[in-house]
């Protein structure tokens, strides 16, 4: 019984440590460079995880200019 109590306390302590870590990670970025990154992320971000995964599979994709998304492969589309 005592061992279980001790075990629970250790688990709770570990949980508290991890929660603290999570809060730290969510803090607002302090320097301007990170803020810039966030601005970019806003312009090109997608919330859907699956979509993000597809995009990350192709590092060239930049939908700001359509690169990697639209490909012309037919001659008649050029003339």
């Amino acid at each position: 019984m005592n061992i279980k109590k001790y075990y629970d306390e250790v688990i709770n302590l570990l949980k508290r440590m991890f929660i603290k870590k999570d809060i730290k990670l969510l803090e607002e970025p302090k320097d301007t460079e990170n803020k810039a990154v966030n601005f970019s992320a806003k312009e090109n971000s997608v919330s859907d995880f699956e979509l993000q995964l597809k995009r990350s599979a192709n590092p060239n994709i930049c939908d700001g200019n359509g690169f990697g998304i639209v490909k012309i492969t037919k001659l008649e589309d050029i003339y």
Partner: protein, 424 residues
């Protein structure tokens, strides 16, 4: 003429006049102690420009008439030399403003006032390829390479002066030009991308000059002009939400190929053969005829053609990146991720990462490797090697990926030592 003293009296909430806004949009209540909006003729307020020594910035609404811009130019001339000019976003200095204005006014002069809204829109849409290039290396893996350029690439005049912009800037430039020739437009924003709606005689037209930048720059038929909203979403495919709108516009008309060609023919963009004037079909066609059985020769020939026939266009890095994909597919090269890789790189001496270059790696037949570096500053496209890349170049510091050449050199080295062991 309104005097500075009268102006301050009229705007009693002002504590220190730091900003003046020209246009119809209002100044918010928290800005009222330092910012005033002027809707009237800017020429009536020159005394303020002369005397307001605290004036730091002028904010100009994107939509302006030709006459109101003429007045604003006069006002800016009278302002202190270090005044900054903005279109709500980004800022430029006086020199950039007047250079941008010169460019815009020359485009306005080229537009026939008798043209219809569709004709004017078509002209400006095509002109954008010539006026700006998409900001290089922007948003690679959601990492911005140049924090200073984030806002500036959205400023109308800075974008034109530096010839670099992103989608919002490109839309703002178009809207500003079109408003001066009496065409009504609206910014369409998906939250991830910005494009445009234009009111025409027959209905509303959706266009995306940013996604067409490479095609209009290389004289190709526009691909994103007068499509329906659904067509735009189809182009996004399943990897992008660039054109997804919460409230898609109403009364949207589509411009079919026949009409598109009629419009471009009527504004003198191409000859009686009704073809767009890119050299690309001829170049790729000749390569296919000359080397029907040898893809590697076609690849070499294509890169040589870019270096000669299209040399003057090599200053636009992102547009080269896009057009190369098209050109390679036209010579029947494989353009999937396994066979084509393009990435911005920076010389190791460029510690501020201000001069991006482009590395293109193409895998041809029999796994032959073709590697070229594009330097937009010197408009050169030169072959390179893994060793040169390792010795002289880096990815941008914000790009966390390992440069591809490191892995390949390791692979080559281990293959050589394995062969040596086998020989022994």
């Amino acid at each position: 003429m309104v005097t500075y003293e009268e102006f301050l009296k009229e705007n009693s909430e002002i504590k220190e006049l730091k900003y003046i806004k020209f246009g119809k949009s209002k100044v918010s209540s928290y800005e009222k102690s330092y910012k005033v909006a002027i809707e009237g003729n800017p020429k009536e307020y020159l005394d303020i420009a002369d005397k307001a020594t605290s004036l730091q910035g002028i904010d100009i609404d994107v939509v302006q008439t030709k006459e109101s811009m003429e007045g604003i130019r006069e006002f800016v001339k009278h302002c202190r030399e270090d005044v900054k000019i903005s279109n709500s976003i980004g800022k430029c200095n006086k020199e950039e403003f007047f250079l941008g204005e010169e460019i815009i006014e020359s485009v306005v002069k080229e537009i026939n006032p008798e043209w219809t809204a569709k004709q004017k829109l078509a002209y400006v849409h095509y002109k954008m390829g010539e006026l700006v290039s998409y900001l290089p290396d922007y948003n690679f893996n959601n990492v911005v390479p140049y924090p200073d350029a984030i806002m500036d690439s959205r400023n109308i005049w800075k974008g034109l002066a530096t010839k670099q912009a992103v989608c919002n800037g490109i839309t703002a430039i178009q809207r500003n030009i079109l408003s001066r020739v009496g065409v009504e437009t609206q910014d369409l924003s998906s939250g991830t991308h910005s494009f445009m709606l234009t009111r025409t005689e027959d209905g509303n037209v959706i266009t995306d000059a940013t996604w067409d930048l490479a095609y209009t720059y290389y004289g190709i038929r526009p691909q994103h002009f007068g499509l329906s909203y659904e067509n735009f979403r189809q182009k996004d495919g399943n990897v992008s939400r660039a054109h997804k709108l919460e409230n898609p516009p109403e009364n949207v008309i589509t411009i079919e190929d026949e009409e598109l060609r009629n419009i471009y023919q009527s504004i003198g963009s191409f000859g009686p053969d009704r073809k767009f004037n890119s050299k690309l079909p001829l170049i790729t066609g000749n390569l296919n005829t000359q080397y029907p059985a040898n893809l590697n020769d076609r690849i070499t020939g294509l890169m040589e053609a870019f270096n000669t026939e299209h040399k003057d266009k090599l200053s636009h890095l992102e547009e080269f990146k896009t057009i190369l994909v098209t050109a390679l597919s036209l010579i029947h090269a494989n353009i999937d991720n396994e066979h084509l890789f393009q990435q911005c790189i920076y010389s190791k001496e460029d510690s501020n990462f201000t001069n991006p270059k482009l590395i293109t790696k193409i895998i041809g037949e029999n796994q032959e490797n073709f590697m070229y570096i594009l330097d937009p500053k010197s408009k050169s496209l030169e072959q390179t090697s893994l060793e040169e890349l390792r010795d002289k170049y880096n990815y941008h510091k914000n790009n966390t990926l390992e440069p591809f050449w490191n892995k390949e050199i390791d692979k080559e080295t281990s293959e050589i030592s394995r062969n040596d062991v086998t020989k022994e």
